[in-house]
Amino acid sequence: MIFELLFNAALLLVAVICFVNITLVAPEPIQGNMNAAQWPQLIFGLLAVCLVINMVRIYRNTPKEERNLKPLKAISLQHLLGSRLTWAFVTLFGAIPALNILGFFPTGIVFCCVFTFLFGERKPLRIILPAIIITLVLYVLFINLNIMLPRGTGVLRSFHLFTEGIFRFR
């Protein structure tokens, strides 16, 4: 119950922040028409109301003996670090700045290696070789569709420009 309530509370917080933000910076109302803030205000206002109702319903529908903070106290750093889902999301979010700095090639290979490992593969060759193949196939496919993938910065940018020259067929 507590985690569900917390998730709803987080959504409620987002809704309230958005409502306040749009209200504070709202443009001058136009006579005879809705201004740019009214529609979002309506949406976020309704969203906040629905979330409050949902939270009340969750609380009411939970048996009294389960209405406590015990699950929160049960969370430990060890438990979090042992979860594959945590590592998967850390890798996913970590790939974003890496794509900007290192570019597609190195990031893609490391990303594939980590996920193959998370899926249970343990032999190094079976991790590294498919990672290179997957990254290379996607790279060649997309640059030939004229969709430029992240090139990174510095030397890696030059490297990506060089590889683009090699792998582009037209």
């Binding site: 933000n21 749009i22 949902n54 594959r84 889902l85 999301f89 794509l99 498919p130 990672a131």
Partner: protein, 497 residues
């Protein structure tokens, strides 16, 4: 009749036929790649047309456009990645069918009903272009708002058991659609100083995050290996589709798709959501939807393809591009000297007939080519999931990035995935969020235009079309709440009698 024959004469020329064949293959493959929408597929195909004559060029582009919408269903079913936004609904039942070991059936239904939708709308267009264009002209902002609102009102049908959570999800989607520069005043909303958010939130990263990445994460927790499991190429045979049993679903969805496609600004995505929700509403077993119901796949795919035919009406007869793909096509046709608008039927009827004849032929070819392409794609399922899942994630990242070459979209996709995992756990509806996101901008801009033109909300009810559509929407919204009470009362009365 002469015009129709003229169209077929053009496309049956061997040179044009080759272009149509190539366009079908290209379109299906482009559509299957996440991040390459039907509009982007048309854009990618544009350079090929520079050396073609006007009629072959148009036939080629129309083919790519129609085939890309169909191609989107392949990855939607096999990997839960909607290749195009319009195939988001196909994921909902297509992927559970695959999990049940019915990948071939799901693909077969998707591809054949896609073709049926496309052929149906093309035939309707051939016979009724003028009349439909006249009807479409009567759709102003108030009517378009009513259509979009009707789309929103079906939201509760997506998960009737969790109406409140579904509404919350839909409102979140509508809220996301508010981000960026507003469509009327050009005012910056909810960007919190980010330049990247000024263009608004793209649909593809959200869909890919909510559907594809979440699915991979689910498999990661389950430790299930699809490649070594029951889904192999041996049970992806396309047979025993039971299309005859779905004849009314296909017909209804084709009509809805064509009608929605005609409306400028609407499109294949709205059409597929509307017909999917209509099927849930009309079904005797709505609880089967979202759990691998073949009718869900048929409804979504028939409608989104029928909408491609419908979208040609405002483009050709009024010169209004209904969506991004239509805008690309309009640019290409203008380069080739086609003057779109009401005079097209009189001055250059060959273009009109070529477009519709191409759609009919593409529909037929698509069945053959798409089944071939789908069979190649299904072979991918034999790959161990440790590699397949990783490839899906990589494809998701590239797809999100490719939407407009922006790393922010990858971040949006990752956040959507995180939210999607929580949505799954707490029974919120990802599809309602997507529906809200799709309809948000159309709903708001038309509401505000409508209020301006009608001088207030009361003016909306001066239009009979708007009034009827809003009443139907109100009924659809309220029925899940009022319906059970009415049924209870009726039961009581029957018992008493």
């Amino acid at each position: 009749m002469d015009i129709i024959l003229q169209g077929f004469q053009v496309i049956l020329d061997p040179g044009v036929l080759i272009y149509i064949l190539a366009g079908t293959v290209l379109g299906v493959v482009f559509g299957a790649l996440p991040g390459v929408s039907s509009a982007m597929a048309t854009m990618l195909a544009l350079p090929f047309t520079y050396t073609m004559g006007a009629l072959p060029a148009i036939a080629f582009l129309v083919t790519v456009y129609c085939a890309a919408v169909t191609g989107g269903s392949i990855t939607a079913i096999l990997f839960r990645i909607p290749g195009t936004p319009s195939s988001a609904c196909t994921c909902l039942d297509g992927y559970p069918m695959l999990e049940r070991g019915e990948a071939g059936k799901a693909l077969g239904i998707a591809l054949i009903t896609s073709a049926m939708g496309g052929i149906f709308s093309a035939l309707v267009m051939m016979l009724l272009t003028r009349q439909l264009a006249a009807v479409a002209l009567r759709f102003g902002p108030t009517e378009l708002f009513a259509v979009a609102f009707m789309g929103l009102s079906v939201m509760t049908a997506l998960d009737a058991g969790n109406a409140l959570r579904t509404v919350i999800s839909g409102l979140l989607g509508l809220g996301l659609a508010c981000i960026g520069i507003d469509p009327i005043q050009g005012f910056n909303r909810l960007t919190f100083g980010s330049i990247q958010l000024m263009n608004g939130i793209e649909m593809i990263p959200i869909m890919v995050g909510l559907f594809a990445v979440v699915e991979v994460m689910k498999q990661l927790i389950k430790k299930r290996d699809l490649g070594e499991g029951k889904i192999t190429s041996t049970n992806t045979q396309i047979k025993g589709l039971g299309l005859w049993k779905m004849k009314f679903t296909i017909l209804r969805s084709a009509v809805i798709g064509t009608a929605v496609g005609i409306l400028p600004g609407a499109g294949a995505t709205i059409a597929s959501f509307l017909s999917y929700a209509a099927e849930i509403k009309l079904s005797k077993h709505p609880e089967t939807f979202g759990k691998g119901e073949p009718r869900g796949v048929a409804a979504s795919e028939t409608a989104n393809n029928a909408a491609t035919g419908g979208s040609m009406v405002p483009l050709l007869s009024m010169g209004i591009p209904g969506g991004n793909a239509a805008a690309v096509m309009m640019a290409a046709m203008t380069i080739k000297g086609v003057q779109m608008g009401p005079l097209l039927i009189r001055t250059q009827p060959q273009f009109l007939s070529t477009v519709f004849a191409t759609q009919v032929l593409t529909g037929v070819l698509m069945v053959i080519i798409s089944i071939g392409v789908a069979k190649v794609f299904t072979k991918i399922l034999d790959i161990p999931y440790s590699y397949l899942g990783t490839t899906i994630l990589m494809l998701s990242i590239v797809g999100a990035f490719a939407t407009n070459n922006n790393i922010t979209n990858v971040l949006i996709m990752a956040i959507a995935a995180l939210v999607g995992v929580a949505f799954n756990k707490y029974k919120f509806s990802s599809s309602a969020l997507v529906l809200g996101l799709v309809l948000g901008e159309i709903c708001e801009s038309n509401l505000r235009r409508g209020v301006l033109i009608s001088k207030g909300f009361a003016g909306f009810f001066r239009s009979p079309i708007t009034t009827v559509l809003l009443l139907v929407s109100a009924f659809m919204l309220l029925w899940p709440v009022v319906g059970p009470y009415v049924k209870k009362r009726m039961k009581k009365e029957t018992k008493a009698a």
